[in-house]
Symmetry: C2
Subunit: 196 residues, 2 copies
DNA sequence: ATACCTCTAGAGTAATACTCCATTAACGGT
DNA sequence: ACCGTTAATGGAGTATTACTCTAGAGGTAT
């Protein structure tokens, strides 16, 4: 079966193993056994454990960010967009628990230059889309005149924190539980005085 | 020099090495050389790399959370407390960059039961303090009636995100730069309709 | 003084990330 | 249809490194 879905098998095996055992304790052997792949193949696709990590990370963040960007483009009033973004974040996390776990607990600093560059790039791209959206609405007077960085942080920060809590301990309430409150609060945070 | 400041030397050496090289690539040898400590001593205090990690993590989070709790107790109006919390978070991050890096990029899931328990405990304690504060102000009508979890997330989520951005890329603006906007926005988020 | 305990020391061991090369499949050009 | 080149696979071998083990130094109490 000489095809490159081997790569995918490895990535998904790596993800589950990483989440299950923790990255440090996850051995390459365990991963390659789960993926049913030989040592040679494994190291053919990923030069070392770190680059495997990076690949998993990148795969996850691309999927997540892609969906997020889509929410921005589907137009609608500012408040609807805010709600959509929040809902997306919560639902994505709930529906992709392993990925979310991996992403939320792993920064990319100290990783390879390549990855750093690619992630920065993805972030920048997303950020510029958001910035445009923000500027437009600030100009129209629907949003408070604050910097795009702060807007993004205000939008996603709280959701991320709630999600992290849920990911860390089984006991915490599911993210989507908080959607309603989160939208209310976040909208108050960002809406210009007077705009509904 | 048979004293237990050896332990501290190890912890600080570990932190710097972890941040410098990344946890995975930081070897125990490098750490013990930086700490100027023998192999025996190192493994006398920390049974393995993971428990060293955990000790570093715990040390950091305790310092951070301690300061945070202090902000809550020093009274004042709700808005002042919000501002103080935000300022504290930003300043602590800026002043303890290495710790902040380590903490923000490292979740504790998949780590030892002990650590998990201790962190949960610390979180719970902080959370109950915050909850009390929130309930009081909700009752007085200064804060919107939302769950303490969402209040906490709203308070610290944005700040965390901004700090992470700063920690990840040298280019981002220093956290404290955003303090003013952050306070404005966060206060709008939490304040009950009508309270200044 | 002696027994005891914490801490230090460094050589030794086992695990494991990674290398190497030989073999096989896939593909493109003529 | 053939061949050359590249991509993929297999598994045995190596080197690094987390961790172990045992012997002993320093310090304290009885």
């Amino acid at each position: 079966m000489p095809s490159s879905d081997t790569r995918d098998k490895i990535i998904v095996a790596a993800l589950t193993t990483f989440v299950e055992k923790g990255v440090a304790s996850a051995t390459m052997q365990a991963i390659r056994e789960r993926a049913e792949v030989s040592n040679g193949s494994l190291f053919h696709f990923f030069a070392n454990k770190q680059s495997l990590c990076e690949a998993v990370y990148l795969e996850g963040i691309r999927d997540y960010q892609g969906g997020l960007a889509a929410q921005l483009e589907q137009g609608g009033g500012a408040r609807d967009v805010v709600a959509a973004l929040l809902r997306y974040h919560l639902e994505w996390t709930e529906g992709n628990r392993d990925w979310a776990r991996f992403l939320s607990e792993r920064g990319y600093t100290g990783w390879g230059e390549d990855l750093a560059r690619q992630v920065e790039q993805a972030n920048t791209k997303l950020m510029s889309t958001v910035s445009a959206w923000v500027r437009r609405h600030v100009a129209e007077g629907t949003l408070k005149p604050v910097s795009p960085e702060v807007v993004v942080a205000t939008l996603l920060g709280p959701a991320q924190l709630l999600c992290r809590a849920w990911l860390a301990s089984e006991s915490a309430a599911a993210p989507t539980t908080h959607l309603r409150e989160l939208v209310t609060v976040t909208w108050s945070a960002l809406a210009a005085r007077g705009s509904l």
